[in-house]
């Protein structure tokens, strides 16, 4: 069974994901209970306040989870990538069941019991704590149970915004089109939900002496049987993995082109390959390498150093490469020779402007800065080594706040004159297509981002011919070549495989 062996091979990662998943759900459900319980008490005692309260909670419940994350993303203090925003969203979802069941539990108490309490001379506070809340407790626990189960399901979406949890397998599986990986995340999530349901149902029953027990055992039995059936079906339907070399890539054009380049290079030597291109971001590719889901992909030296190894920025390409090789070898990965081009940040202006004003370097912008508007992608605007570092390194003071937008749009905004200077990628196909000029980084501000193939060391040991095949690519892809291939795919909508095939033919 592929699934079982996947779990065994990934047990540490799986444990970490389960832990993160439970953390997200526990924190958000507790927070929702802390808000929802008092709200439920108010809703039960003061219907005039309670009704709108319930309405708001109901509306929050109806927002689709991805849309809710989208709404929350740009809100200050709440928004941003990571677990915080996921917890906020989960709290919003957990509120309704908790508020509603608290209010329902309080309202369902026998009025004679309440009257007896009042007539005995209980203060409202005593009545609440000694009579109402204890009697509503089973109902409150039922609400928390529902909130927890919904939370365990919804938390899988949290992986979409980098909050982690079992959803990571689901998203990884979706982009790899590999149902085993999807199930590797979906089944533990389902089991967690069943376990939480069982535990909280038990608690609920303990808290309500004398109430008839639900046929829970039946429900759990059916649930478990369903999960088992899915596991068996999946392992039957999923084809077993051959010994082909698996090639991955990140999810943008240049990466897909480079993945195809590796694939075709190996295929020309008669080595069978499986393509898992367009996987996701840097971290997904790195994790897929470590877990053995893919055998190779192309990374950029600067990204590997800062984003993966979390080391400070370095400027010397040789020092970076030496550092990377050292650190990666300890992770069971090999860094091959750089392919040649450097996909660093590029400061771009319109070619017409560059020629008219004689702009060659970023430093030349100083004269223009006071009247020019810059435009950046989100990442460049946010990162310390982005806009902030650039303007202090070159002493640039632009006219106003930079306009921040989706990276693809930045190029078009420059071409259409909405902004006058942008930060883009040095190898973007749009540089040629939109007739833009790249200014030289004469002060060496941007760290190098040389493209290097990363291969699992075990694969290189087993198949020395792979190392030889890839060595042929070393230093053979210039910035111009990469830009041309990107442009062919992005601007001319050419087929990736055909573009790469042409390039490789010319290379030989």
């Amino acid at each position: 069974m592929r699934l079982i062996s996947f779990w065994i091979a990934h047990r540490l990662e799986l444990a970490a994901m389960v832990e993160r998943h439970l953390f997200l759900v526990a924190v958000s459900t507790l927070a929702a209970a802390a808000i929802g319980l008092p709200a439920g008490v108010i809703a039960a005692h003061r219907p005039r306040i309670g009704r709108p309260l319930l309405a708001v909670a109901s509306i929050a419940q109806t927002i689709p989870s991805l849309a809710l994350l989208g709404f929350l993303l740009p809100i200050p203090f709440i928004g941003g990538i990571g677990p915080r925003i996921a917890i906020v969203a989960l709290v919003l979802y957990a509120l309704l069941p908790i508020v509603r069941s608290t209010a329902a539990g309080l309202k369902s108490i026998d009025p004679a019991v309440i009257e007896a309490g009042v007539a005995m001379g209980m203060t409202p506070r005593q009545l609440l704590w000694l009579v109402e809340l204890p009697l509503a407790l089973p109902s409150i626990v039922a609400g928390i149970r529902i909130a927890t189960i919904v939370g365990i399901g919804t938390a899988t979406i949290a992986a979409a915004i980098g909050a982690g949890g079992l959803g990571e397998y689901i998203f990884r599986g979706l982009s790899m089109v590999d149902s085993t990986v999807i199930l590797a995340g979906a089944i533990p999530a389902a089991l967690l939900a069943l376990a939480a349901d069982g535990a909280l149902t038990w608690l609920e029953r303990r808290l309500s002496p004398g109430r008839r027990a639900w046929p829970r055992t039946t429900a759990i039995a059916i649930g478990t049987a369903a999960v088992m059936a899915v596991v068996v079906l999946a392992s039957v339907l999923t084809p077993s993995r051959s010994d082909a070399i698996v090639i991955g890539s990140k999810n943008f054009t240049e990466q897909v082109v480079l993945g195809e380049l590796l694939a075709q290079t190996l295929e020309r030597r008669g080595i069978p390959v499986t393509r898992r291109l367009n996987l996701g971001g840097t971290f997904i590719c790195d994790r897929a390498m470590l877990s053995g889901d893919i055998d190779m992909y192309v990374e950029y030296t600067g990204t590997a150093l800062t984003a993966i190894l979390k080391q400070p920025v370095l400027k010397d390409p040789d020092v970076i490469l030496a550092n990377l090789r050292d650190a990666y070898s300890r992770r069971g990965l090999s860094v091959l020779a750089p392919l040649g081009f450097n996909n660093t940040f590029a400061i771009l202006v319109r070619r017409g402007d560059a020629e008219a004003r004689g702009l060659r370097t970023i430093g030349d912008l100083r004269a223009m800065a006071a009247e020019w508007r810059p435009g950046f992608g989100y990442e460049f605007a946010e990162r310390a080594d982005g806009y902030a570092g650039l303007s202090s390194a070159y002493g640039l003071r632009f006219a106003g706040q930079p306009r921040v937008m989706e990276l693809d749009l930045v190029y078009r905004a420059l071409a259409s004159g909405q902004v006058d200077v942008i930060a883009g990628d040095a190898t973007s196909g749009l540089i040629n297509a939109l007739d833009l000029a790249m200014l030289a980084d004469d002060r060496g501000y941007f760290p190098p981002y040389h493209a290097v193939p990363i291969v699992r060391s075990a694969v290189l040991l087993r198949r020395p011919d792979i190392g030889n095949a890839l060595a042929q690519l070393a230093g053979r892809i210039s910035e111009e070549s990469m830009r041309a291939m990107n442009s062919a795919v992005d601007v001319d909508h050419r087929d990736v495989a055909a573009t790469v095939r042409e390039f490789l033919s010319r290379l030989q």
Partner: protein
Amino acid sequence: MTRTPSTESRDEAAGAPVVAFLGVRHAYDTRVVLDDISLSIARGEALALVGRSGAGKTTLLKLINRLVLPHAGAVLVDGRDTREWDPIELRRRTGYVLQEVGLFPHLTIEDNVTLVPRLEGWPESRRRARALELLDLVGLPPAEFAKRWPRELSGGQRQRVGVARALAVDPPVLLMDEPFGALDPMTRVELRQEFQRIQRHLRQTVVLVTHDMAEAFALGDRVGVLDGGRLIACDTPERIARATDPNVRQFLVTCA
């Protein structure tokens, strides 16, 4: 203090009345449920009020422990207007037995009985002793019943617990709303006799409402007849039995 069969008027000088109604009127929205009620209840007296459903019997009880306030007139408890009483303090010294009993389902019989002592801050040992004493008094052997749950008891047993709970802090006044109404006739008669025994023993001031004339005659030193929100008679059972007022006689025929 004697159990005064106060045959004459509310001004009788058997000490100040514990409870006095002075021209009390109460209405729910526009429906008048009590009108011009004047009545006084002496210390140690058992007053039984009869009337049909909706005659305002329960409202009359709730006026005494300030669960409702009069719209006109005044209700005095120990000579003080209920409007001036702190409701919590007033209710702690007024035992209340509901028809539906209203035992707390999440508490054991012992904890139900000693809830008011607990609110009053009695120490644990004293509460325990009191629970045993009370359960004995209402005929429920503590060894058997103290640790049981309300749902495990029969209707009659629950009603006994309700009485024990109302008596817990030995309140000067005990209000009983159809306490035996929901029980089968055998249990009702048995409990009634039990209650007579308790009442003779404790000499509490009791106000009891019922729709059962026989019950009123059996338990009341005086019997009051409520009809259409008015108190049409209030006297000893013997005199009520010999009443000539056709409205009162009608009650004797239909209810007894």
